[in-house]
Subunit: 316 residues, 2 copies
């Protein structure tokens, strides 16, 4: 695949690429490609099942996902800076599911979209190395079309489980470490307090900011970003101040309940420093109006509306 | 696949199945199936490359892994209670790698070995659900041969990211949550101290023990176990007392430096309560004697030696 200008341009630092895509498209939006099988438009599922045959449910599911993702990517490409496939919904279907994931990455790159593999991988150093190769590639083959531009990772194992991902920052690749997640039970571990009464996620934030310091691009932001959920808005402003080096990937906007105003705190005064993910609210917008045939049109409208409402909240 | 007695018997609780396998084979050993490509016997790699063709390096790698795993599983089956494939080394090769993982699970089940998928998965509830289906299966299809018996998980997201895995305890499935890992940087996050000076991993240990309490089998042990690394022996004894409900999966024995005496602290006075993993020391034992042709024989000898040294350390 030829290297091009714009988002899918590997010489450039990952943070710079992501911010460039945001600037060019006037967007802060990322769409999560989380193809919950039960929510796919029924006609796509039938079409895929007919092609794959009744004996091959995993192949059929993977084919339905690909049909769906193709239209979604085309529909939202000029509204979003990146797409974020959630690996679980591909791994669920075994080898055909992983094939669908790889084809999805290729399609997104054809539309010059950045791809963030939402994999939340974590392991000891030699194994983290294998995960980094699996999702971000190796020096040997700097451009393989099915490789993502960035990956989400879990920080519980500390620095040596993160380093192999950052070794790929010189290839234009990045990682977002979980700091504060968006789920109801996030506090069970992340809110554990130290002697000063500070929650664990603040300690993790300090580590991520420090580790990312040596991996900053021209923008000043690091190839090591942070996942900071939007469902706990009181924490976002604190973390924004505490992690000046880190781009935030903000989940929880839309279906999980956070508003555009809630997520505004993830941004610096210059309107930079974060991208905001929404998944179901865009992908399955057709369900609100019960119009599966035109699912791509409804996804595009929902993405556009999300993009504009984020931009409006940031102008305030 | 017919349901049988012994390890691969789904009516029974996971902890009971694992302890039964340990008792029947007089072993505490688990072998990690971590097929580092660069360490595979060269003749297997050549054979696989010849079959797959030069244009298909991922297929060739997957084929070499399968040839290797088949012999290893056969060689160690009567020495170990379970095998623990490390997903990263399969995901590294894309769809053919996942196919090799699934075939590996099937082969292990044919030898009535339990399979612990070392995946360290973690996500918010609805996504954790998809991961649980991917690796442990669904109620619909209680026995699919490529599904593992247990999975390793990361606790950073709290209870709602763990619950979907435990829902499968009624299907005989289990999970091991990371508590104290074996890598050099484990302390970066896991040693964060609370006001009482206790490290975070003790807080996580308390949560895991509490969450597992409702999922105990006849043995008294829960379907929710804990990963407790052997490379920090001073912590094992503390955690053993603190987590009476939890079976420990103990990595770090062998190549990572922990001795049989180090890991003895993972066991209760009755000699139960843990299984101990070793990977490279068994898989690649042939490299110590530079005899790749007989790699399976050397793996078997190394597994037997590890089994006996663990048993001896526990009798002291």
């Amino acid at each position: 695949m030829a290297k091009r200008n714009g988002g899918y341009h590997l010489e450039r630092h990952f943070a710079d690429r992501l911010l460039l895509a945001c600037a060019q498209k006037e967007t802060k939006l990322v769409v999560g490609l989380d193809p919950h099988f039960d929510l796919l438009p029924p006609h796509l599922v039938k079409q895929a099942q007919a092609a794959a045959g009744v004996d091959n449910p995993r192949m059929a599911a993977a084919a339905a996902i690909l049909l769906f993702n193709k239209e979604i990517i085309e529909a939202v490409a000029d509204q979003v800076a990146a797409v974020k496939p959630q690996l679980a919904f591909y791994e669920q279907w075994g080898p055909p599911g992983i094939q669908a994931y790889e084809e999805t990455v290729k399609m997104a790159h054809q539309y010059e979209l950045l791809v963030i593999a939402d994999a939340k991988r974590n392991d000891i150093g030699s194994t983290a190395q294998a995960y980094a190769e699996a999702y971000l590639g190796t020096d040997d083959d700097a451009v393989r079309p099915h490789e993502a531009d960035a990956i989400t990772i879990n920080p519980y194992l500390g620095w040596d489980g993160i380093a192999p991902f950052l070794q790929r920052s010189s290839m234009g690749k990045g990682a977002f470490a979980l700091v504060r997640t968006s789920n109801p039970s996030a506090g069970d571990v992340q809110n554990a307090q130290n002697a000063a009464g500070e929650p664990l996620f603040v300690h993790v934030a300090d580590l991520i900011n420090e580790w990312g310091n040596s991996y900053r691009g021209n923008s000043g932001y690091s190839a090591l970003g942070a996942v900071v959920g939007a469902t706990y808005p009181q924490d976002i402003a604190l973390l924004r101040k505490r992690m000046p080096n880190s781009l935030f990937l903000v989940p929880g906007f839309g279906a999980q309940g956070a508003s555009a105003t809630d997520v505004a705190a993830a941004f610096n005064a210059d309107g930079q420093g974060a991208v905001v993910n929404t998944s179901r609210q865009v992908l399955f917008a057709y369900r609100q109006v019960n119009d599966p045939t035109n699912y791509a049109k409804h996804a595009r409208n929902a993405a556009k509306q999300a993009r504009l409402s984020l931009n409006a909240a940031l102008e305030r």
